[in-house]
């Protein structure tokens, strides 16, 4: 069993913070393609079109018959044939995280692979292999116990590949919405120490305010994503203490482009969701990056919740979808930047949220609780992209299969 995590001690301000190094990050294009699938929480290997055999490490042609390779979901079982505990490394990241355990795994899918080992597994064990992303955003095979073991998520080696909210301090940007409140509560339930809950307009009351602000662990803070100064002020105050940022801000309004669109709505949406995201990133990304390897309470993730229709556009919600598109694009760029500093950038994709602005949309709609669950799951798994609900899953699946067709379908 893993040693249960204990609440981190107060940080000694005189001790130098460990620099946020990342493991070796250079990868082939094929390995990068594996990362793209790992980000979705899939366990994939390359399989040959001709002989149907799976291969690893990542190749460009099949080693058995030289056929073309395709990524395919594969059985995730394996047996650990050999193991070692590395006690010496010349890499700047690993030398600070020794001892580090790895093993040779015989994958049920066929190939052998060098894998990271969870503390509860060793030579001879049957394991479940998860395809994770490491701190540099690259694919990493991680051997987990086949069955749940006590405090499994607290394994120190595993925690390098996740952003588990346990004992961490989280900023949720907009507590005025049902989504923001659901996310805050779910994070506390998942073990977060504190949730700083943003409020753009402290003089105006909002639904659920009394209950949420009275909840233990919630600390209301003044934060408006449309106001650069408010972000600067908050980052100055909390930058050194926030481990995870979750951006729940959304501005969804009905309207077309040539017909029924409202320029003010578009501008407000872009300011809050797009410029606001960049303001938030500029305020908090440097502080998060500076503490990405700060022991048990290291900064871990930047989470953004956006509409799946950012990928496709959507008839009737053209402006909101455009804002979501810009938001997803900014987030992809931010992910590239943060991969150099060891912070995970997580995208939670939603369908139409079940709120007042989507009254005319027929169900299924996305409940705030579903979004909250997705946020927690993505953090616990270290997953890069997660769909909060069935609508988002459906659109994403179709989009992966045929993006141009899906764009047409969603704008009919």
């Amino acid at each position: 069993m893993s040693e249960p995590l204990t609440p981190p001690k107060r940080k000694d301000p005189l001790v130098v913070t460990r620099a946020g190094h990342v493991p070796p990050a250079l990868r082939s294009r094929a390995a990068t393609a594996m990362a793209a699938r790992a980000g979705l929480g899939r366990f994939v290997l390359q399989v040959c079109d001709d002989c149907a055999r799976a291969t690893y490490p990542q190749r460009d042609r099949c080693p058995f018959c030289w056929g073309e390779l395709r990524w395919q979901d594969q059985p995730d079982g394996a047996v650990i044939e050999a193991e070692t505990t590395i006690r010496s490394s010349i890499d700047l990241f690993f030398k600070d995280h020794l001892p580090w355990r790895v093993g040779s795994a015989r994958l049920d899918a066929g190939p052998m692979a060098t894998v990271h080992l969870h503390g509860d597994v060793g030579q001879g064990d049957r394991v479940k292999i998860e395809l994770k992303l490491d701190r540099s955003g690259n694919p990493a095979l991680f051997a987990m116990p086949e069955k749940e073991t006590p405090h499994m998520a607290d394994d120190p080696q595993l925690r390098v590949f996740t952003a588990d909210p346990k004992y961490r301090r989280v900023l949720v940007t907009d507590g005025r919405t049902a989504t923001g409140q659901a996310v805050a509560e779910a994070l506390l339930k998942a073990g977060a120490k504190t949730v700083f809950l943003g409020n753009a307009d402290p003089l105006m009351r909002y639904p659920g305010q009394d209950r949420i602000e009275a909840t233990a662990g919630i600390e209301p803070v003044r934060l408006s994503l449309t106001d650069t100064r408010s972000i600067e002020a908050l980052a100055g105050q909390l930058g050194g203490r926030v481990d995870i940022v979750v951006n729940t801000a959304q501005f969804s309004r009905q309207g077309g482009v040539g017909f029924g669109g409202n320029l003010n709505d578009l501008q407000s949406g872009l300011d809050l969701e797009v410029t606001g995201l960049m303001r938030l990133a500029q305020g908090f990304a440097p502080a998060l990056s500076g503490r990405s390897d700060d022991g048990d309470r290291s900064a871990a993730a930047f989470v953004d919740i956006a509409s799946i229709h950012g990928l496709t556009g959507r008839a009737g919600f053209a402006g909101s979808s455009a804002a979501a598109a810009a938001r997803l694009s900014l987030l992809a760029s931010l992910r590239g930047e943060m991969a150099r500093t060891g912070i995970r950038v997580i995208s939670v994709l939603t369908g139409p949220v079940d709120d007042g602005w989507h009254q005319n949309v027929p169900p299924p709609k996305t409940a705030p609780a579903q979004i909250a669950r997705a946020v927690v799951t993505a953090l616990q798994q270290g997953q890069e992209t997660i769909c909060a609900d069935e609508v988002a899953k459906d659109v994403l699946t179709r989009w992966q299969d045929d993006p141009l067709l899906t764009i047409r379908e969603e704008n009919k």
Partner: protein
């Protein structure tokens, strides 16, 4: 498979070792030039006299043999670049021998040289191979230590080989190194010191690991006539084998390509393991020495522990092993580490050792092992060298 044709009309001579340095501010080009200068001192030959050049190095980048030829003023009519590290000595020997035999070259300088600047080991590792970049180094970055730890963990369990057995090999090699003035390790190593060394990557401990360093090794492959004219003692090449990526289906490496071709080696050489006066085996980790002893026909793997106990691997022992101390005690100068087994074996049978002489040395078995591309060594080779003429 066709039987290997004999290496008639080919001799190997003039082994050269440029003394190693733990760290060097010089380049691989400088070390290569040093090796050629040493060959020149021994033979009186200059740049225009070598019409063949065979080169191995990890640290000459961006140059290959092409850049090295112009850098050092050579004008060969045959050249080759061997990128196989620990297997490069045997491979250079094979290639140069056939070139000379077929008349593509008369006198080939085979040189391996590497420098070791501060941080160059890490940089070499980082860009070593695509598979290790994608699928090994991000897993703890233990370097070769971690990869061989996995191989050793499995091997020891599978064949009942223990750290005590490895200790015997390492202690004997250190004993051998003590008479070699160029060896980086100057102090004796005891069994207890070996056993109590700090763990590096379980079950690999400190004295299982080589010391990366700078250095160069070289030898000449030519015709018997040319060697006679130059007044050089010569050895003949009795037989060789080479194999790459053998047994990819083995989950964890427990054998190398030798296991596939060893019968061909001994039948072409017309002798057997019992006829060898010494063995010069690739020894980056004693587990690989043990693997070779079995794969090269000295014993079966389950008997390894017994075989190691029954033999004395020092220079005066029953089976002298890596008589210069090997890479474990003399140092691993990059690709030159794959050449020192050739130069040392050659020196012993030509009766010009750096340190103590193996008594009555006539035959040497040389074995190379190179390049952990991902989870195992890919390149293997072996050669039997026999004393021909002493001058």
């Amino acid at each position: 498979m066709g039987r290997q044709k004999p290496y008639d009309g080919v001799v190997v001579c003039a082994p050269v070792t440029v003394p190693y340095a733990r760290y060097s501010d010089k380049t691989a080009h400088w070390w290569t030039g040093s090796a050629l200068a040493a060959l020149s001192r021994q033979t009186g030959l200059g740049p225009e006299d070598f019409d063949g050049f065979c080169f191995a190095s990890f640290s000459a980048g961006p140059d290959t043999v092409v850049g090295m030829v112009q850098h050092l003023g050579l004008s060969p009519r045959w050249m080759d670049h061997i990128p196989t590290g620990g297997a490069s000595g045997v491979m250079a020997l094979r290639r140069a021998a056939r070139a000379v035999q077929m008349g593509d070259a008369d006198i080939v300088a085979c040189v391996a040289a590497d420098t070791n600047q501060i941080d160059s080991f890490r940089q070499t590792l980082q860009g070593f191979s695509r598979f290790s970049q994608d699928a090994t180094y991000p897993y703890g970055f233990g370097g070769p230590n971690a990869t061989f730890a996995l191989i050793a963990d499995n091997f020891m369990r599978e064949y009942g080989v223990s750290r005590d057995d490895f200790a015997k090999l390492c202690v004997a090699q250190r004993d051998n190194a003590l008479s070699n003035p160029f060896a980086l390790m100057k102090k004796p190593l005891t069994h207890d010191q070996y056993m109590q060394a700090r763990p590096i990557s379980d079950p690999i401990h400190l004295f299982d690991c080589v010391m990366p360093c700078a250095g160069a090794e070289a030898f000449i492959v030519t015709t018997p006539e040319k060697a006679r004219d130059l007044g050089l003692s010569t050895a003949r090449l009795a037989a060789t084998i080479e194999r790459h990526n053998a047994f990819p289906e083995d989950p964890v490496q427990t054998r190398g390509g030798w296991a596939r071709d060893i019968d061909d080696l001994w039948s072409a050489a017309g002798c057997g393991p019992q006829d060898m006066d010494m063995v010069q085996l690739y020894d980056d980790y004693p587990v690989i020495v043990a693997m070779q002893l079995a794969d090269l026909g000295f014993c079966e793997k389950p008997e390894l522990s017994r075989f190691i106990a029954d033999n004395d691997f020092t220079i005066s022992g029953s089976l002298p092993l890596n008589t210069n101390g090997g890479q474990l005690s003399a140092g691993q100068a990059g690709a030159a580490g794959g050449f020192q087994n050739v130069t040392e074996g050659l020196r012993q049978i030509l009766q010009t050792p750096l340190g103590d002489q193996v008594p009555d040395a006539k035959r040497a078995l040389i074995s190379g092992f190179g390049l952990v591309n991902y989870d195992r060594g890919i390149c293997t080779g072996a050669a039997v060298l026999e004393q021909e003429v002493l001058r």
